[in-house]
């Protein structure tokens, strides 16, 4: 019960008017940053970091972490409304969120996504509160082979669901290819930059996604004239309550995604990987799995819950070990040092007030965040009532700004345009885009982990079964990959047994 005492003490610290004010400011800023594609949690926090130098550290981290929560919540908004992921981790949310909006159910999709996010955050905070030191030790067990196995698991849980295998393969390979542009950190050599210094930065995931999904979608919907059809949603506050009534049905998805998210946050796999894995696994195991992609609430809940759980859990290794579990956590970690705190294993011992104040604030600010974002649902859903002729050019402008802000490079806007055209053509030709996005996000990280492993093992593949941890994950990944085959075999076996049993009696 030591933790409970400390937690209540933390609440006493966090619950001052000043800190609550910081919380609200942070969340609102976070929502704005989350809505704008290109500006994400890490740069949002980095931009505001210098403002906090004069604040007490606890208030400073409360405000900055609230920016992070706000952006985690808000990434879903543009994904659902316009098919443009505001954050990298909300790409998977577009798969079902946008179809829902097209059916006039944007309010439901947003409510479900926010509530799912909140649930994920809550599970992760509970984990941090009660199991931090224990779980933190677990994170240390992750070396290169374990990382590779986790990435493999993400791929395998997501892949293998496309209609046309050739096109799925092409899409995925294009993603890998884009990810490989720039410097290969393992050998320190440049790949596919063709002597062009503009390509040194690589092609950022967000630029591709803004083009493929955002601009591509606008072009596609232009074909049928000027209407985002069937989108004039009925908007009232009741939609929140109605959606909440439907949610308990998806308890299994919620818990599964929260668990995936916590896992991916602690072993720095990241919120983006978590959201894809959450979506992929829900699709595979849900009874409505076949209908995913056509506008299922479950398909919105699964990635959002996992992403927010992962984003929150990423603070655990940061607090307990000084390891950043995500890009945002890395910036916060830099902040700790600037405020004069020494992150690392001793933080829990030496800076009790700070740590527990932060943890307590995570409960409060996620509740505050949920209330704030839910109250914006009618507002955001109302955006869809604005005539297309007004909203379309604004979206295009925001896409251009988003592409530019990622690296501050003009060329990225051209790339966005190029990927917009590619997105339009590929969509018309029925190429699935999800595998491309997934391999673009995780491709180079998986490759780096694999090659680090090979350097250590001198090229032996046995290392992926060298201990129980990596062995379990690798095996799980292979099971996932061959799941359709296994399920088929199992059913066949059962049937033949039943048949045999039937014939004997």
């Amino acid at each position: 019960m030591n933790e409970l005492d400390a937690l209540f003490h933390g609440f006493a610290i966090a619950l001052t008017w000043y800190n609550i004010g910081m919380m609200v400011i942070g969340i609102v800023l976070g929502i704005i940053i989350g809505v704008l594609p290109g500006l994400g949690g890490p740069n949002g926090v980095a931009i505001l970091l210098p403002l906090t130098f004069t604040m007490p550290p606890t208030s400073a981290i409360i405000m900055l972490s609230c920016i992070y929560w706000g952006s985690l919540f808000a990434g879903a908004i543009t994904s659902v409304l316009f098919n443009i992921p505001g954050e990298t981790h909300s790409v998977a949310t577009t798969f079902d969120g946008y179809p829902l909006a097209q059916q006039g159910r944007a309010g439901e999709a947003l409510t479900a996504s926010f509530t799912g996010s909140f649930f994920g955050a809550l599970v992760a905070v509970l984990l941090i509160t009660f199991l931090a030191p224990l779980v933190a030790k677990f994170a240390l067990k992750f070396g290169p082979p374990e990382f590779f196995a986790v990435f493999l698991l993400t791929f395998c849980s997501f892949v293998g669901t496309g209609k046309d295998p050739f096109k799925s393969i092409i899409s995925m390979m294009l993603g890998f290819g884009l990810a490989a542009i720039g410097m290969d950190i393992v050998s320190g050599e440049l790949r596919m930059t063709f002597g062009w210094s503009e390509l040194l930065r690589g092609i950022d995931f967000l630029v591709v996604v803004i083009g493929l999904f955002g601009l591509g979608e606008i072009l596609f919907s232009m074909e049928d004239g000027l209407a985002f059809e069937g989108k004039s949603a009925k908007i009232n506050t009741k939609v929140v309550l109605e959606t909440w009534k439907k949610l308990p049905k998806y308890w299994l998805t919620l818990i599964r995604s929260a668990a995936i998210g916590c896992w991916m946050g602690i072993t720095p796999g990241g919120a983006t990987a978590a959201s894809f894995m959450g979506y992929g696994i829900a699709k595979r195991f849900s009874p409505d799995g076949d209908k995913f992609g056509t506008g299922q609430l479950e398909g919105v809940i699964a990635p959002e819950t996992a992403a927010h759980a992962s984003g929150t859990a990423a603070l655990l290794p940061m607090l307990a070990l000084g390891i950043p579990g995500s890009a945002t956590a890395a910036v916060l970690l830099g902040g700790l040092m600037i405020w004069g705190l020494q992150p690392g294993p001793l933080l829990f011992v030496e800076q009790k007030e700070f740590v527990w104040g932060l943890i307590a604030s995570m409960y409060l600010s996620n509740i505050a965040g949920l209330i704030i974002v839910l109250s914006t649902v009618p507002l955001f859903a109302a955006i869809l009532r604005i005539p297309f002729a007004i909203i379309a050019p604004v979206i295009i402008v925001v896409c251009a700004i988003g592409a530019y802000t990622v690296h501050g490079a003009m060329l990225d806007i051209w790339f966005m345009l190029l990927f917009g055209i590619a997105g339009y053509v590929l969509k018309k030709l029925d190429y699935p885009l999800a595998p491309l996005v997934l391999s673009l996000v995780l491709g180079d990280r998986a490759e780096v982990a694999f090659r680090q492993t090979m350097m250590g093992s001198k090229g032996g593949l046995g290392v992926f079964w060298s201990n129980w941890l990596v062995g379990t994950i690798t095996t799980l990944a292979l099971v996932m990959l061959f799941w359709p085959v296994l399920a088929f075999a199992w059913r066949k076996l059962r049937r033949s047994q039943n048949g045999a049993a039937g014939s004997t009696t």
């Binding site: 950043p324 020494q342 992150p343």
Partner: protein, 341 residues
């Protein structure tokens, strides 16, 4: 009131039109020195959260806190291709005095490793404000107490058994590893990671046997008693005498040379502005950095990060750069890291 008028006047005068600038210079002879007229960007050719980024953001914080500059300052990370993105960005911003690049040894090693069309002479050197040290670290649960013991164990084992972790490939950490191999006759397997923080965690998790991190990258683990510092790759002991662990301060760590391992490496932490800028512009930033490094906040920062307090500017800085470049290039060539066509 006067101040705001002065500011807007200043802003108006110093637009790029050189004719207008001349006019203003005549109109306001007291305004001989240059001052930024818009937001100054600190370009960090490394990721957010790393050592270079932290330093840039600390400086930004100090500038804001002590109001050392009228215009705002912001930090921009351009970490693509191990920082080549940021370096080329500053090179291409010829004549723009509103960009300040946080430099480290990548300015010499990158052009050699990947044939980048860049030389630090393309830029205008401002000042070096610190030197970063490198140490040899092992996991605290291993029995090695001195570098000799450790390197003997590495040598006794079959080649490539011991793994050394570090940041990136063909950069400072790997240079040191190769130099170590040469001096001690060992054969490490070098595993490149994305950041020093990752190399630190991997050492605690025993996925590698040692690393050569900067003090700031390993201090958290050191204080917690999870890693052990064997020696520092520097000619003298470090100066910070406050106890960090139960019984050791930075100053207590022996140099590698006195432990019989003659390897030295230190890394500059300095600032450049793009080429084609004027003397006055350089002078402004030298002055700014002088003011920054004079604050108590800065002193506290460098003692926490265990940086070596050095301030070099003007011809001395250039001389240092020339020497340091030759040193790095030689090491890169010896290690066989030079770009091959």
């Amino acid at each position: 009131m006067r101040l705001t008028m002065f500011k807007s006047f200043n802003k108006f005068c110093l637009r790029p039109l050189s004719g207008a600038l001349l006019l203003c210079a005549i109109a306001a002879p007291a305004l001989a020195d240059w001052e930024p007229t818009k937001t100054v960007e600190i370009i960090v050719p490394a990721g957010a959260g790393g050592a270079a980024d932290q330093m840039a953001r600390t400086i930004q914080g100090i500038v804001v806190k002590h109001q050392l500059m009228k215009q705002p300052m912001m930090v921009i990370n351009k970490s693509g291709s191990s920082g080549a993105e940021g370096i080329m960005d500053v090179k291409d911003a010829k004549g723009d005095p509103h960009k300040l690049m946080a430099a480290f040894s990548a300015i010499y090693t990158l052009p050699v490793a990947v044939n980048l069309p860049f030389n630090w002479r393309d830029l205008n050197p401002v000042a070096m404000i610190a030197l970063d040290e490198f140490l040899l670290w092992v996991n605290a649960e291993t029995p090695y107490k001195t570098p000799k013991e450790y390197l003997a164990a590495v040598k006794a084992a079959p080649p490539d058994t011991f793994k050394m972790g570090g940041t990136g490939s063909k950069r400072e950490d790997q240079i040191i590893t190769v130099a170590l191999d040469k001096v001690a006759g060992t054969k490490f397997t070098y595993i490149p990671y994305k950041s020093g923080a990752e190399a630190a965690t991997q050492l605690v998790g025993k996925h590698i046997e040692s690393n050569v991190n900067n003090p700031s990258e390993n201090i958290a683990q050191w204080r917690a008693g999870e890693v052990r510092a064997l020696c520092v790759f520097s000619a003298q002991h470090m100066v910070y005498k406050d106890k960090i662990t139960a019984d050791q301060s930075w100053a207590d760590i022996p140099t590698c040379k006195e432990s019989g391992v003659d390897v030295e490496y230190q890394m500059l932490r300095g600032f450049f502005i793009p080429g084609g800028t004027t003397k006055e512009q350089v002078a402004y930033y030298v002055d700014l950095l002088k003011k920054v490094t004079a604050t108590a906040d800065w002193k506290e920062y460098i003692s926490k990060q265990a940086l070596k307090d050095v301030f070099l500017t003007g011809p001395e800085f250039v001389k240092f750069l020339e020497k340091d470049e030759a040193f790095n290039t030689k090491l890169m060539n010896e290690a066989g890291f030079a770009h091959k066509e």
